[in-house]
């Protein structure tokens, strides 16, 4: 049936008709797409044909996972939805990790995947995969397009869903025959959906109760997550904190939502957060969660988390409220209107005693690390990045020790300057994400802090940075280990290092390879082969010079730092435990 319709439509010569492929391009333009990341293939040839004349830039990634992380990095850095385009089958399945990363962190993305023709779906056709089924749990929503007349509407809806409420990735699965078919449909002026109403009106009784709790608290604490950044609510948050002198701790995703150089800042909370932030959670009598979701890496032992406090949870996602911890007051809504509504009712307060207490913790327990003479410590490298960039760089990270040190030894003062895979913890995220960041914020210094493990997961994307002449400084903290896993094996598995050695050195017989080179790859040669500028740093004295050189000569740089192999991230609250169990071997 469809095939006949297609032939009829193809012979129709009314000039206002557009192909499905053209609808995709027009839909992207209408949504404000400046740059599209992707990878072609058989099932998206028609879209790539239409892309030939598109008014926006196309960036060819080297792997579809890289394309999604780029779009994700772009979205995190700009607040605008990231866009990507991939082919069917393996092209689409390669996006799954990227989609799941964005879904966990609430990042707006629209990913168009080619699909085999409608009449071939379910036939085990070449490069066919059930993309709707595969991506359902890792997207906010997905669409299989069955009729070209619906396509303009679906694209508009996809962007609407991706960017409203708690943002998230949306997949449009677009069969090849529909890309060729023509339609007279035009996109709607405004999107209305019967079953999706992201706008939640502020509820005055809730606001009154919220204000009451703030005004009666003697030890209030703001616990701030990525929602403040997604909701562009940093100013309102700062106003609330300063009006009532409420100290602020942030989650990993919330770094930058509140300036870390503010006297009220306690910096990151949770497993590897600051002592002051974790003590404050334990001692506060009112915990105000703004756009955070009480992740297990923050709460540790849930029953003992903020046990002396009443908990207010503000979130646009109703299902987050009360999910993990008991909540005394849940306020559903966007943070800007909620905070604006409560501010007039908040009485100025000093909380002198509480702030003195908190400041004593801050002074007594700063982030520190052992620094034996002449040994290049990874923490020192981060401090140097902060010093040389004067704190003005956008930082992207991989996952693990490099990520945690990046939270501890750099200070984030602006939203959207710390770009990291929080919820899913995706290794290989940092490098492609930093490329997306650069496309969103051209010319700003971007530093990708990564490890020798994570960087190898998407190293191929380095050529994209090089060919687009993107000024990205990739700093590889090379300790020869999958460091965070090694740290857990050291602390909780009696140093039985299994599967974590990237070098042959010290490997057990069942991992050791006879006569193999001791350590691969040579990152400097690898960077050179990709066309990047590069250097290797082995002692502390060389770090500042290497970084200064990289910042002075904007280009894609790879700086490999051979760091102390068994440095650990402290403080650490062991998983599922209370702050009292904190390990802090550096003080």
């Amino acid at each position: 049936m469809k095939a006949n319709t297609a032939t009829d439509k193809a012979t129709d010569s009314v000039p206002t008709l557009k192909t499905g492929a053209q609808c995709v391009i027009d839909g992207l333009v209408k949504a404000g797409c400046e740059v599209l990341f992707g990878y072609p293939g058989g099932a998206v040839l028609d879209i790539f044909n239409a892309l030939y004349d598109a008014p926006f830039q196309f960036v060819l990634a080297r792997h579809e996972q890289g394309a999604v992380h780029m779009a994700d990095g772009y979205a995190r850095a700009t607040g605008k939805p990231g866009c990507c385009l991939v082919t069917s089958g393996p092209g689409a399945t390669n996006t799954v990790t990227g989609l799941a990363t964005a879904c966990m962190d609430g990042i707006p993305l629209v990913c168009v995947c080619g699909q085999v023709a409608l009449n071939m779906i379910g036939n085990d056709a070449f490069q066919e995969a059930d993309v709707i089924g595969i991506t359902r749990p890792v997207t906010k929503h997905n669409f299989l397009v069955r009729d070209v007349d619906e396509l303009p509407d679906i694209i508009a809806r996809a962007f609407y869903i991706a960017t409203t409420g708690k943002p998230g990735p949306v997949v449009i699965d677009l069969p090849k025959n529909i890309q060729k078919q023509k339609t007279a449909s035009v996109p709607p002026e405004t999107v209305t959906m019967r079953a999706y109403h992201p706008d939640v009106p502020v509820n005055p009784p809730e606001i009154a109760q919220f204000a009451e709790l703030i005004n009666h608290a003697s030890r209030p604490l703001l616990y701030v997550g990525g929602g403040v950044i997604a909701g562009n609510a940093s100013d309102e948050l700062a106003a609330l904190a300063h009006t009532a002198n409420i100290p602020v701790c942030t989650t990993l995703m919330g770094l930058g939502a509140f300036p870390e150089d503010d006297p009220l800042a306690l910096r990151m909370v949770g497993m590897h957060g600051s002592v002051a932030a974790n003590y404050a959670v334990d001692h506060c009598d009112l915990l105000i969660s703004a756009g955070a979701r009480f992740d297990d890496r923050v709460t540790g032992k849930v029953s003992a988390f903020a046990s002396k406090a009443k908990i207010v949870h503000i979130d646009i996602d109703r299902s987050s409220i009360g999910k993990s911890v008991r909540t005394d007051l849940g306020v559903q809504g966007y943070l800007v209107p909620v905070l604006q509504a409560v501010l007039p009712f908040v009485k100025p307060a000093e909380h002198t005693e509480w702030l003195e207490q908190v400041n004593r913790w801050k002074e007594r327990f700063p982030f520190v690390y052992p620094a034996p003479e002449g040994v290049l410590m990874p923490q020192f490298v981060i401090e140097q990045i902060y010093a040389v960039s004067k704190g003005r760089a956008v930082i992207t990270t991989d996952v693990g020790q490099n990520q945690m040190w990046a939270t501890q030894f750099y200070r984030y003062t602006r939203p959207r300057t710390f770009i990291s895979s929080g919820g899913l913890g995706t290794m290989g995220f940092g490098l492609p994400a930093s490329i997306g960041v650069q496309f969103g914020r051209k010319g700003e210094p971007v530093v990708c802090i990564t490890g020798d493990g994570g960087v190898q997961m998407n190293f191929q994307e380095l050529v994209v940075a090089v060919e687009h002449r993107l000024p990205i400084v990739v700093v590889i903290l090379n300790n020869g280990y999958l460091g965070m896993v090694r740290q857990w094996q050291e602390l909780f598995y009696s140093k039985r290092y299994s599967g974590v050695m990237l070098s042959q050195h010290g490997r057990l017989p069942n991992e050791h390879v006879e006569d193999a080179p001791a350590y691969l790859p040579d990152f400097v040669k690898m960077a050179e082969a990709h066309g990047a500028r590069t250097c290797r740093v082995t002692n502390p004295g060389e770090v500042a010079a290497a970084l200064s050189e990289a910042f002075a000569h904007p280009a894609t740089w790879v700086i490999e730092c051979i760091v102390s192999p068994e440095a650990n991230v402290y403080p650490m609250i062991p998983p599922g435990q209370h702050v009292a169990e904190m390990i802090n071997r550096t003080v």
């Binding site: 709707i132 089924g133 359902r136 749990p137 906010k140 929503h141 299989l144 069955r146 869903i161 959906m193 019967r194 079953a195 999706y196 109403h197 996602d317 109703r318 299902s319 409220i321 009360g322 999910k323």
Partner: protein, 166 residues
């Protein structure tokens, strides 16, 4: 405790899979699930029976409400409602005594014999979950050859004041 959740959804392909995937993907169990059309051809109604404590059920309803294709979610359990299940059961009748007993039993439950074969009877019964369970318990001494149940459907007995999602 079992909860009966009524869910109005867009009548679109893939919505059922989304709902089922959402519940099972979070490790919750679905005891019964029934999907049918409503007076509006673009809307389907699902009735889902989920066992779990209040926390689990609250998560299920919030997560369902969040779905783009879900129009309304109502936990029927805590409001006045009627729930019914249709049961078709074929029971072996080795002799006419057994047949008479089974027919009597069916009559007590206002169930109907809808087919009679030489060595079995087929009974249709409508009731709430408890009544159906009682009936099946009393049938246990006999040999049940086959059984088909629709799962629960439910309807509210008064206007919904504030559904989980408008």
């Amino acid at each position: 405790m079992k909860h009966i959740i009524n869910c109005l959804v867009e009548n679109q392909p893939g919505v059922l899979a989304r709902i089922v995937g959402l519940i099972s993907g979070r490790g919750y169990n679905i005891e019964t699930l029934n999907v049918g059309p409503t007076e509006d051809p673009t809307v389907s109604k699902m009735t889902i029976v989920v066992p779990g404590d209040a926390h689990v059920i609250a998560q299920v309803t919030h997560q369902l409400s969040k779905q783009v294709d879900v129009i309304e979610v109502v936990d029927m359990t805590n409001r006045r409602h009627l729930d019914r299940e249709l049961l078709l059961v074929r029971v072996a009748t080795q002799n006419h005594h057994a047949r008479a007993e089974i027919v009597d039993l069916a009559a007590l439950f206002m169930a109907r014999v809808v087919a009679v074969q030489e060595e079995s009877v087929t009974i249709q019964m409508v009731g709430n979950q408890e009544t159906v369970a009682d009936f099946l318990r009393l049938l246990r001494p006999y040999t049940i050859i086959d059984i088909s149940r629709t799962g629960v459907i439910a309807v509210g007995r008064e206007a919904v004041e504030r559904p989980a999602k408008r």
